[in-house]
Amino acid sequence: MLGEFEYLVLTISARLGDEAYGAAIRRDLEQATGHRCSLGALYTTLDRLESKGLISTVMGDPTPARGGRAKRMVRVTAKGIRGATAFYNAILQASRGVSWEARIAIAP
C-alpha cells in the first residue's frame, strides 16, 4: 500500500501529465496541502516510486527559465495508476459514513 505522501505525488503527477516535473509537482503539492514541501522529501519519494515501478523519469529539455538546465520529467506507469487507485478506494472505504464537514459544524 502506498504512503500518503507517495499518493499525493502520484496523483499530482498524473494530473499534470506532460508537465509533471519536480518544480511543478512541488508547487501543486504545496497548494494542495498548505504546507511546505522540502526538496529532499520530494526527490527521495520520486526515487522510491521509481524503484517500485510506479513512475518513470526522464531528463527533459533545458529551458531559459531554468538557466538552461534540464528538468526531471515524471510519468506515472500503469502500475502506479493501479497503486493510486487502490489507495483512493481504501480511503473511500475507510471514510464511508464519516462526514468530516458535519463533525466540524457540530464541534464547538
Binding site: 519536480g22 518544480a23 522540502s38 526538496l39 527521495t44 538546465r69 534540464a70
Partner: protein
C-alpha cells in the same frame, strides 16, 4: 532602497551557498535541483532544501559497508597516526628551525662539521616531509577509491582527526630545555598547524580526488609509487619515537615506542590496497565505479 539592497545581497549569498552545497549531489540531480530552484526563485529557504537533500542522500550512502570500512580502517587509525607523527615532526622542525633560523650564524657554513650537520638535517627533514605527505596521499587515495560518494566526508573526518587526534603538546615541547623555541607562538602553534595542513590535509584531499576518479589504475605509476612509499616507510620506521597523546590536561604517555610502531603498521593498508588495485585491473575485473 536599503532593504532592497539587503534582500538582493541575501539572495546572492543564498545562491552562492546553494551552488556550493549542491556540489555534494550527483551531477544530473544537481542540474535538476538548481534548475528547479532557479524557476521558483527561492531565497535562503533554498539553502535549507538543498542541505536537507544532501543529508538524505548521504544518509542513504552510509547504509552500505564501504564508507564504514573506510572510516574504521583508514580515518580512525591513520588519522591518529598522522596526527601524532605530524605533531612530533613539527616539534623537531621547530627546534632545528629555531636553532638555524632564529639563531643563525655564518659559522654553520664555515665549519665543515656544522655544514655537514646542516645538510643532513635539511635532507632528513625533507625526506620526512615527503614520507608524511605520501602517507597522507595514500590514505586519501584509499578513501576516495573505497568510498567514492562519501569520500569527501571521510576526507573531512580524516582532516579533523589529524588536527585533534593529539593535543598541542609533544615530547619536544614538553621538555623544559626547549622552552626557548616553544615560547614563540610560531613554533608552538602556527608551525604544527601549517605542517598538518600542507603535509597531511592537502595531500589527503588530492589522493581522495585521484582515488574517486580512477576506474582503471595506472599499473606502472602505482607500482613505482608504492615502491617509493615503501622505501620511505622502511627508512622512517626504526626511528619512530614515543611521544605524548594529550587527551586532557593530564598527559597520557605512550610507555614504549612499539605502540607507535604498531599503529604505524596501518600505513601498510593503503599501500596494499593500491597494489591490489593494480593486480585487479591487470588480471581481474576493473574496480567498480
Amino acid at each position: 532602497m536599503g532593504s532592497q539592497d539587503r534582500d538582493c545581497a541575501v539572495r546572492k549569498f543564498s545562491r552562492f551557498l546553494v551552488d556550493v552545497v549542491s556540489r555534494a549531489l550527483q551531477p544530473d540531480e544537481r542540474e535538476v535541483v538548481l534548475g528547479d530552484l532557479q524557476e521558483t526563485g527561492e531565497g535562503f529557504r533554498a539553502v535549507q532544501d538543498v542541505v536537507g537533500l544532501v543529508v538524505r542522500r548521504q544518509a542513504t550512502l552510509w547504509t552500505h559497508w564501504r564508507p564504514w570500512l573506510a572510516l574504521v580502517t583508514v580515518v580512525a587509525p591513520l588519522g591518529v597516526f598522522l596526527s601524532h607523527i605530524s605533531a612530533a615532526w613539527a616539534g623537531g622542525t621547530a627546534i632545528y628551525s629555531w636553532l638555524y633560523v632564529d639563531n643563525w650564524t655564518w659559522g654553520y657554513l664555515r665549519s665543515p662539521g656544522a655544514r655537514h650537520e646542516l645538510a643532513w638535517t635539511v635532507l632528513g627533514f625533507g625526506l620526512d616531509y615527503v614520507t608524511l605527505a605520501s602517507w597522507a596521499w595514500a590514505s586519501g587515495y584509499t578513501l576516495g577509491s573505497l568510498s567514492r560518494e562519501t569520500s569527501w566526508l571521510n576526507a573531512a573526518l580524516l582532516s579533523l582527526v589529524t588536527f585533534v587526534g593529539t593535543g598541542s603538546l609533544t615530547v619536544q615541547s614538553a621538555n623544559p630545555f626547549n622552552a626557548a623555541a616553544f615560547s614563540l607562538t610560531f613554533y608552538r602553534a602556527i608551525l604544527p598547524t601549517s605542517l598538518r595542513a600542507v603535509l597531511v590535509v592537502i595531500p589527503a584531499y588530492w589522493g581522495a580526488c585521484v582515488g574517486r576518479r580512477s576506474t582503471a589504475v595506472s599499473g606502472q605509476r602505482t607500482t613505482i609509487g608504492v615502491v617509493v612509499m615503501g622505501i620511505l616507510t622502511l627508512r622512517t620506521f626504526p626511528f619512530l619515537s614515543g611521544g605524548y597523546l594529550v587527551l586532557s590536561p593530564r598527559m597520557f604517555p605512550i610507555p614504549a615506542d612499539w605502540h607507535l610502531k604498531v599503529l604505524g603498521l596501518t600505513v601498510a593498508w593503503p599501500l596494499t590496497y593500491m597494489v591490489a588495485g593494480v593486480w585487479r585491473s591487470r588480471w581481474g575485473k576493473p574496480a567498480a565505479g
